[in-house]
Amino acid sequence: MVLTLPHPGSLVAFAILGLVAGGFIALATVDGGTPALLSIGPYLGRVLAFSVIQALLSTLLSLVLGIGLALALARRRFPGRDVVLAILGTTMVMPTIVAVFAVFAVYGRSGWIAEGLAFLGWTEGFSIFGYPGILIAHVFLNGPFVARITLDGLNQVPAEHWRLAGALGFTPAQIFRHLDWPVLRAELPGVAGLIFLMCFKSFAIVLALGGGPSRSTLEVAIFEALKIDLDFGRVAWLALIQLAICLSMTALLHWAFTRPPVGHTIRSLVHRPDAKNGRLKVLDAVVLTVSALFIGPLAFSVLTGFRTLLAVIDADLLRAFVTSLTIASAAAILACLLAYALASAARRRRIVLRSPRMAAFYDILPDALLAVPPFALTAGLFLLIRRLGDPSTAGFILLPLINGLAAVPFAYRYVAPHLLTTEERYGRVAASLGLTGWSKLTIMDWPVLKKPLAAGFALAMALSFGDFGIIALFGGTELVTLPYLLYERLGAYRLDEASSIGLVIVLFAILLAHVSGRLSHAGD
């Protein structure tokens, strides 16, 4: 038995677990006492049931829209396709308030649809509050993201498979069965888990569009306990409940859909043989039209900020832009490093050590980071930092850290599959050449990894760029990000300026998504 250094991925996993556990313990024991177990009253029970149902429905609909759209986009080429892809990668990173206003601009009482109907003589009106509004917002935010991720996966199918399918004269159904389905099966648990978590935690959207306190999520209770009751033990306890529910859900997904092995050749973009099928042409036309009608107006409504765009460009805005950029870059670097470390540990467990259960642990860990309520983790970590040093610098550490941790699952989605692919393709060659550690990273992984890593980096950056989570607590005159500025202007009645700032955020996210898309779609 030789004593070896633990894998860096294991160290990262331990560090993350330690950080989260430390935060929880600090939070639960802040008053020196042990936290009393909180009973889940009837209201909390109803909130939990509602959260689970709305998150499941949102996930399901997002998957239907996203997968349909991804298949249609994989089969079709048309002018402006690049722009569409960039927009798909953008909706998810919108600040929630921008998304809420977009939904109202289109579906609200004085929205475009209501006005169109009134023009046609229909003045009855309709209400989107409740499930319709929540689902519209969630599917708008997440469906396009599913499409993006799935499309990336579909592009991974090796060229040989396509040639073989062509040679064998596969029908579209056989193509779906043998080429597309394995990709979907591999992507599904991860993506579905992410969407479920995002929707389960959704807060401002559910409150604004839910129409009443029966439509609420656990995050509201956490928020209340943290900011109004100042009851940190309760915060820790509620956060644990949330963590438990989210983790069981992602674990279930990973268990239900195991990842199939990948092909052993290099992919390249091909023309799909099923593109010529008449029925699929009709289907794709319908899918693309429906998606365009659904996503288009909502995305377009964000552009109303153009009117006052020039008026908001001032020193404050530029400073906020630089601050956002700095924090987002730091967060994205952290997210990519952690995702790489975890993914390579998962790869080692799965392929070299043949222990898929441990590998699944590493696969689920990033999702756990998303399940931890950011407010609770921030508060807990702050209490730790407070003991160690100057609390006024805490914001500088916590903002990139928390944003980075929250982006790990997204970066992981890009990095992990590619890393597995490299090992399956070149692992044995590398082992026989004695490549390990740094040289394995630079020689074997890097060439395959640089594009997905850059794509993950761009997405992580965009996510952090639009985030208005913990900045609410730790923003300040020295730490003003764009979303913070947006809320500041809203608080001063400047609705127009707020929508322009929202537009700036979205435009930058589109740019990032475009870069990320170019990197992840290009052939090797």
């Binding site: 209201y43 009482r109 009443g212 609420s216 700095t326 607590l473 300040g476 500041e488």
Partner: protein
């Protein structure tokens, strides 16, 4: 490619470091750190004016540190505890006062609280009010010709206007309206909520979402302040936004400032506390924070503030009553509305 990436990473790292050290540079004058909420210190808030005017006389620097809103301020103070850098906190409110006191972070202000323009007499020795207003429903007179004249009329009329409210668990005006209902209806508040419920469009997370939705035409009225119309008159030259005056009286919103007991410069903090109730600070409140000044400045109020709805009666629970009953009130509200 790999080397280029490393280089980029290094540059980014250095930028971050530079940003941090640049901020940490030592200053020669003493610095008074004042915590407040975001829009107070923002571009359109009174923060810049207050800073200029105070620095003109104090021989010090005033540094604003902000959290999003009053609740976040309190949460942050709770987290920082005795290690807080705050010398003074500006922007708590009466409904958070008892919780704020229980933090044991504030020291008596010693400022003379007489001759205030508040509708109540101020006796608290820990906090001083710096501005105030009444909660009120704001409506567009071009669209709603006959607003209800009392809370009872609003609640009882099944064909009455639709309203947007804020969630009392996450928002100050949301809690304000909950207390208002409680004050008017007492034990019958649950039934009243039930009657009003069909006309409540939604409860939003905060004031900003609610007001934004109202401006986008999602409801006839929105929970805000009697002073909101003054913004539209002065900044937008629009006089169609009004606050509906209710005959039962309106719930009072008082914003508070306090100095910490942990401050390293108690004299400077005390000077600022006195400055808060002086002309230079108070005259910045109406058009900076869109609230009534706690002490009417000698220059008087702007014209638009004089024509605002003037409630006959201020409704108010003591901070202690709020602290004791908030949970019960919120639960009753949940029972009545969350079905």
């Amino acid at each position: 490619m790999f080397r280029r990436l490393l280089l980029t990473l290094a540059t980014l790292g250095l930028t971050t470091l530079g940003l941090a050290t640049g901020l940490a540079q030592a200053q020669t004058k003493p610095t008074l750190t004042v915590y407040t909420y975001g829009s107070f210190a923002g571009k359109y808030g009174p923060g810049k004016t207050v800073k200029e005017r105070f620095e003109a006389t104090c021989g010090c620097e005033l540094a604003w540190v902000t959290a999003e809103d009053a609740g976040s301020l309190l949460g942050r103070l709770r987290l920082e505890g005795a290690n807080t850098k705050a010398d003074v906190v500006v922007g708590l409110d009466m409904n958070l006062m008892a919780e704020a006191k229980s933090l044991d972070l504030f020291s008596p202000h010693g400022v003379d609280g007489k001759d205030l323009a508040l509708p109540i007499t101020w006796t608290d020795s820990t906090f001083i009010p710096f501005d105030w207003g009444y909660y009120a429903f704001v409506y567009d007179a071009n669209k709603l010709a006959h607003p209800p004249r009392s809370l009872k009329e609003l609640v009882d009329d099944p064909n009455g206007p639709k309203v947007i409210l804020q969630d009392p668990r996450t928002s100050a005006p949301g809690l304000g309206f909950l207390l208002w209902m409680q004050k008017v209806y007492g034990d019958q508040a649950g039934e009243a909520w039930g009657k009003l419920k069909p006309r409540i469009v939604t409860f939003t997370k905060g004031w900003s979402e609610a007001y934004g939705l109202f401006m986008k035409g999602e409801a006839d009225m929105v929970m805000s302040y009697t002073t909101s119309p003054a913004y539209h008159v002065i900044a937008e030259k629009k006089d169609n936004y009004k606050a509906a005056a209710f005959s039962e009286g309106h719930y009072l919103h008082v914003e508070l400032a306090g100095m910490t007991r942990t401050t390293k410069q108690p004299d400077l903090a005390k000077t600022f506390m006195t400055f808060i109730l002086s002309e230079p600070f108070q005259s910045a409140m109406p058009e900076g924070n869109w609230m009534m000044p706690a002490k009417t400045p000698a220059s008087g109020l702007p014209e638009a503030f004089k024509s605002l709805a003037q409630p006959d009666k201020a409704l108010l629970f003591t901070p202690e009553e709020v602290q004791q009953n908030r949970r019960a009130f919120t639960d009753a509200w949940l029972n009545a509305t969350a079905r």
